[in-house]
């Protein structure tokens, strides 16, 4: 009826279809969204692994034979550049004589005092001035460029194959320069010492642990597992789960956690390598590798450090919801650490791999890949230059490690609340130190000093475990429901409807088109073609559509109806007649 009205209805229908399509597209696009749920559960909690290290990696007294030359060189540098003489310092006098010749190692990478706007430098070893060629890197001043650069200390690294390729690392402060330089040589030396020797050189469990108390009961070194860290020496992991059992606590509070007293032998510290005193601890899962150097918490001596933990477990949905990895198997970087995947592990492994590929040897601070060995100056004279260039690339994200490595989907976190109290208190100091000295071993006659001791308490603040998990916000069922809702709201339509539309507009119109073509090809009167189309019933239905309207009103031939009515249509007609 009415042309305007018809137009209006067509418009309305079209806009409804458009709306449906739009909304459904929106629904589809939001299909992969996640909702977050937080659950709190009060339960018996597994106690995490606690790894404890002395900040100083190796006993200085036992390292003497390896480090004497380096120390001598360092002292010499201090004296040359800063007029620092040993007599004034607390640094223990080295027993070595001065007559041993410095190895070529120190000659090749000497400390330099840079003058005259990076043109000339004073060599520490020979006292000669030399010209500097190659590029200059500022280790410290790259962020803040200091104005007067005429008195800067640093060291030069050259490519041994191609001596014009040099890099000069300068530092604005001599403290950093000396430490960095010392560390470089230290790593060179340590790389040549086999692991068993290093373990012996470091602290034993008896050295480090004085007392141990867990969950109200006594524990001892058998509950600790040794773990050798390249930079921190021997570390001890409590509750590492190595023998298959993981301890758990069913009571919170400081009495029921781990309480240890650590013996930090301050007198045996390496004066150049570490400049702070104390211990480092890290709370981690049994399957996680403890990255002490990155995320460790430092423990003060002569104090009781109480660390309250709160446990949170998080879980992300992996693909297609977010870009994380469940096990790390899908990441093309080999896991060098014998622990479960984490982002940190991936980055370190990736760097180590790049190091082995481009420098031919492995960096000391990370585990060895198969078939590689640690860099040392004798075998790989070029490695330091290579390492510094590579490390710079890594930091600037040019190695592609940051792109390859992905987050882990699930992780456990222990939020720590750290507080410190004085320990032992002035009145209890006397008996405490006496008894602890007795604990340490009867043969030790001298009383312990309280600055050699650190008390550590690690406990659960409460046994509430928070579990943050992502869940798919939509399931297929809900998506379909929403589709249905949209279809029903705008068109009161359903899948049946859609099938009908497909049927009518595609299959039928296709057959019409085909028939038309046939008709055009074979001429108008070709009844065979028409008959061929008939098996799909709708074409037949659609074909006489123009004459359709009068048809139902004209009765069909009587005899045929009667025949049918007698045989099978009888109940139908009766039923219909009754209504």
């Amino acid at each position: 009826r009415g042309r305007l009205r018809r137009l209006l209805w067509i418009l309305l229908t079209l806009s409804a279809v458009g709306l449906i399509l739009w909304q459904c597209a929106e629904l589809l696009m939001n299909y992969y969204s996640a909702s977050v749920s937080v659950t709190v559960q009060f339960q018996k909690l597994p106690f995490p692994a606690v790894t404890i290290c002395n900040i100083n990696p190796y006993k200085y007294s036992s390292m003497k034979e390896y480090l004497s030359e380096l120390d001598k060189e360092t002292k010499k540098a201090l004296e040359t550049f800063y007029g620092f003489s040993e007599g004034k310092s607390k640094v223990r006098r080295s027993v070595d004589e001065w007559n041993s010749t410095g190895s070529d190692l120190f000659e090749q990478i000497p400390l330099l005092k840079v003058e005259d706007f990076f043109r000339t430098a004073t060599d520490l070893h020979t006292g000669q001035k030399r010209k500097i060629e190659g590029s200059v890197f500022h280790k410290d001043s790259s962020i803040v460029n200091s104005g007067d650069s005429n008195d800067i200390i640093g060291f030069q690294l050259c490519d041994t194959n191609n001596s014009s390729q040099c890099a000069l690392y300068t530092f604005s402060s001599g403290v950093n320069a000396i430490q960095e330089w010392y560390k470089l040589h230290y790593m060179n030396i340590m790389a040549q010492i086999p692991l068993e020797t290093k373990e012996k050189l470091s602290y034993s469990a008896d050295d480090l642990l004085l007392t141990c108390f867990f969950d109200g009961l006594s524990c001892d070194k058998r509950h600790f597992t040794r773990f050798h860290h390249p930079l921190h020496g021997n570390c001890y992991t409590f509750n590492s789960g190595e023998n298959g059992t993981v301890l758990s606590t069913s009571t919170g509070g400081s009495e029921y956690g781990l309480q240890v007293v650590l013996y930090i032998d301050e007198a045996d510290y390496n004066p150049f390598l570490v400049t702070s005193t104390g211990a480092k601890i890290i709370v981690h899962d049994q399957n996680e590798y403890p990255f002490i150097e990155d995320i460790g918490t430092e423990i003060e001596t002569a104090a009781a450090t109480s660390i309250g933990m709160h446990f949170t477990r998080s879980r992300k949905l992996s693909k297609p919801y977010s870009d994380c990895t469940e096990t790390g198997d899908d990441i093309p970087v080999e896991n060098l650490y014998n622990k479960s995947y984490s982002l940190q592990i991936c980055l370190h492994s990736c760097f180590q791999k790049a190091m082995v590929d481009s420098c031919g040897c492995a960096q000391y601070a990370q585990p060895l890949p198969a078939g590689a060995e640690y860099c040392n100056y004798k075998k790989n004279p070029n490695w330091m230059y290579c390492y510094y260039r590579l490390h710079e690339k890594f930091v600037k994200e040019q190695l592609g490690c940051q792109q390859i490595c992905k987050d882990a989907c699930s992780f456990k976190e222990w939020a720590l609340t750290t507080s410190i109290a004085q320990w032992p208190s002035t009145v209890s100091e006397d008996w405490m130190l006496r008894v602890l000295s007795w604990d340490k071993g009867q043969k030790l006659n001298k009383k312990l000093n309280k600055t050699d001791l650190a008390n550590l308490m690690v406990f659960y603040k409460d046994l509430n475990e928070r579990f943050i998990s992502e869940n798919p916000a939509n399931t297929l069922v809900i998506l379909l429901s929403n589709f249905g809702g949209q279809l029903g709201l705008w068109m009161s339509c359903s899948v049946v409807c859609v099938i009908e539309i497909v049927e009518v507009f595609f299959i039928d119109s296709l057959s019409i088109v085909m028939r038309r073509q046939d008709v055009e090809r074979h001429g108008h009167d070709n009844p065979v073609c028409i008959d061929e189309d008939l098996p799909t019933f709708n074409t037949a239905l659609r074909l006489p559509l123009p004459q359709d309207s009068p048809l139902p009103r004209t009765p069909p031939p009587n005899y045929s109806t009667l025949r049918h009515a007698f045989t099978e249509q009888l109940p139908d007609t009766l039923e219909l007649g009754q209504h």
């Binding site: 709160h310 750290t418 320990w423 009145v427 409460d462």
Partner: protein
């Protein structure tokens, strides 16, 4: 009246038999329903009919399957969490400050004198374990009665397999092998592992001997790898027993007084003093003082972030007056908690070190959960089967309170007395060595019993609203060397109005507690699936697959009722027919003709009766075998009937 009419009609109908058959009913339904599929079943050709039949069936089953999933989802009572972070004016947390040491040593010295002498003598012997040269030490006679209740023993482990137990004050030695029950209470560890590890194995160990009755053989040795731990543990057991006999007001007097401990207080810009603190007696730490507890007056609000608007305190812990063997760590113990909740300092408390300024930035981390059935938590603890003993402090329920109450109730049941650290249930006294000689043994075994802990964990529920105060702690030396003198002078003067400086670095603590820039992080739960969600999803599914609605369900229900009705009528008709046949079978002389039988059979539906439901039948004469009027069938001739005909033509 209506009902009667209806019943009469129903009766008539039953007598007459069904008005129509199942097939009629189904066809009628398919033609008239608003659901999209069925109409096509009857309107299409035979092939398509089959296709549509299966499609409809498939869609219907899909709908039911998905409905099942949806209802399941609804019944799992999921929640969605929403997170909000920001700053708003909030109640400042209650701040509890205590001294790490419970009593002033000068006040309790007379009670602990004997104990101290004992431990000193014992230490003297332990530290020189070779017998013989310790005899020259001259001691005043010791009160060995106190010692013998819970003695410390030395275990000689020179011989690994056969350790010898040495009593410290007596000379008799007993081998462990002879003891009836010698429990080795180190935590789950394999004792053989360390045997060959080092040659420098420790030779002596301290242990606390706990007996169920004095002089009985039922004893346990609590081993300690460290003598320091053993001594502390032993001292705590002994002093607990002594102090539990002292009445409460006396114990409060022996602790630190507010005016001695809290030297200065500033909240925001307003001055406050020790009178703004509520005193509470805490068994671990003696007198504790709570700021802003909200028991008597409204809780204070803080509407600005930053240290200037928070609480600033100066405390004195007077370290010289510590009990030497009781607490080895020195400092103030403090805790932030909610108003009207009991401070459990051992769990959530932090230390503040003497001679420093400790700044604590606070972020309130709240978790608001929905109760049953969404999660298993309790709103106010009324539905927890454990009696909350801390309600005597007028504090609210918390899981820590529940666990401690649970322990204390068990202790009272099993050991017959209550532990000194927890409040008492009705009609029970605190344990002491005179009245309950075996209490330490009982307590020790109960404390390490994993079963007991599990019972308590199972019976206690966490609260639905969980508030935590996340603290960012930083420290600096205080007072500075330059300002030290005048600060000590003024604070000492204010305390006792004399010019003597009574303070020093070892006792003084400064505290700043304030809100951070973002002071709250609230995670609140809401139901993920409501009944509205369920209905709309159900409707969506039904609509999506079949275009149906609730009305369609009602139609379907109608059809089912109708078909039931037909069934009933059919069954009755069949029974009737059976009876008739039997009745006829009684007259064997007159056998029924075939036409009679046919008539009886076919006539059923067409009897001349005035049925309410079948008005159309009335006009029809009962003519069995005659075809129904033609016009009826013509009017609704289905299309598929039409087409083969035209084809045939």
């Amino acid at each position: 009246m209506n009902l009667k009419k209806y019943l009469v009609r129903a009766l008539h109908r039953l007598q007459k038999g069904p008005g129509y058959t199942y097939k009629e009913l189904l066809v009628w339904y398919c033609d008239n329903t608003n659901t999209h599929g069925p109409k096509r079943i009857i309107k299409e050709g035979p092939k398509k009919k089959l296709i549509w039949f299966f499609l409809t069936l498939l869609f219907a089953s899909l709908v039911f399957w998905q409905w099942g999933i949806l209802i399941n989802t609804y019944l799992s009572y999921n929640v969605t969490s929403s997170l909000s972070i920001g700053f708003k004016t909030m109640k400042f947390p209650a701040v509890t400050v205590c001294n790490a040491n419970p009593f002033k040593y000068s006040e309790v010295k007379h009670l602990l004198k004997e104990l101290d002498r004992l431990i000193e003598a014992a230490l003297e012997r332990i530290l020189q374990p070779t017998p013989g040269n310790s005899s020259e030490n001259v001691f005043p006679p010791l009160d060995l009665q106190l010692w013998n209740q819970i003695p410390l023993v030395l275990i000689d482990e020179h011989d690994k397999d056969n350790p010898v137990i040495l009593d410290i004050f007596e000379t008799n030695q007993t081998a462990v092998g002879n003891e009836t029950t010698a429990g080795n209470e180190t935590i789950a560890g394999n004792d053989t592992a360390g045997a060959n590890a080092t040659l420098e194995e420790k030779k002596y160990k301290l242990a606390v001997k706990l007996c169920s009755h004095q002089g009985s053989d039922n004893c346990t040795y609590r081993n300690f790898t460290s003598a320091a731990q053993a001594v502390t543990e032993w001292y705590i057991l002994q002093s607990t027993s002594i102090l539990s006999k002292v009445p409460l007001h006396e114990r409060i007097r022996m602790g630190y007084q507010a005016e001695d401990m809290i030297l200065a207080c500033l909240y925001g810009a307003e001055p406050c003093n020790y009178k703004n603190f509520t005193q509470i007696y805490h068994p671990d730490h003696g007198n504790c003082y709570i700021f802003n507890w909200g028991m008597d007056e409204e809780a204070l609000n803080s509407s600005n972030p930053g240290a200037e608007f928070g609480l600033k305190l100066i405390l004195d812990i007077s370290q010289q007056d510590y009990i030497p063997y009781l607490s080895s760590a020195a400092g103030a113990r403090l805790m932030l908690h909610q108003q009207k909740s009991f401070p459990f300092l051992k769990d959530q408390g932090i230390y503040a070190m003497a001679g420093t300024e400790t700044s604590i930035g606070v972020l309130v981390d709240e978790l608001e959960r929905m109760g049953y059935p969404y999660s298993d938590c309790t709103m106010n603890g009324s539905d927890v089967p454990v009696k909350n003993l801390y309600s005597q402090y007028n504090t609210s329920y918390s899981i820590q309170a529940c666990l401690r109450s649970c322990f204390q109730i068990h202790m009272a049941e099993i050991c017959g007395c209550g532990h000194y650290m927890f409040p008492l249930p009705e009609g029970v006294n605190y344990c002491n060595n005179e009245d309950n000689p075996g209490w330490a043994y009982c307590y020790s075994s109960l404390r390490s019993s994993i079963k007991q802990r599990q019972i308590c964990i199972d019976s206690c529920k966490e609260t639905c609203n969980d508030t935590q105060y996340k603290m960012t702690i930083s420290m600096a030396d205080w007072p500075s060397e330059a300002s030290e003198d005048w600060i000590f002078h003024i604070l000492s003067y204010e305390r006792d109005m004399s010019t003597n400086v009574t303070l020093d670095r070892n006792g003084i603590i400064k505290l700043n507690i304030y809100f951070q820039e973002y002071n709250y992080r609230t995670i609140s739960e809401s139901a993920a699936t409501t009944i509205v969600w369920l209905l709309s999803s159900l409707g969506g599914q039904f609509g999506f697959w079949m275009g149906g609605s609730v009305l369609c369900l009602i139609e379907f229900g109608e059809i089912i009722i109708d078909s039931l009705w037909i069934t009933i009528i059919n069954v009755i008709g069949w029974c009737k027919g059976l009876r008739q046949r039997r009745a006829r079978a009684r007259y064997p002389d007159v056998p029924p003709t075939v036409s009679e039988l046919v008539e009886a059979h076919t006539n059923l539906g067409f009897q001349h009766e005035a049925g309410g439901a079948l008005p159309g039948d009335e006009a029809l004469p009962p003519e069995p075998g005659t075809p129904p009027p033609n016009y009826d069938s013509l009017r609704v001739q289905p299309l598929d009937v039409l087409s083969p005909d035209s084809d045939a033509d």
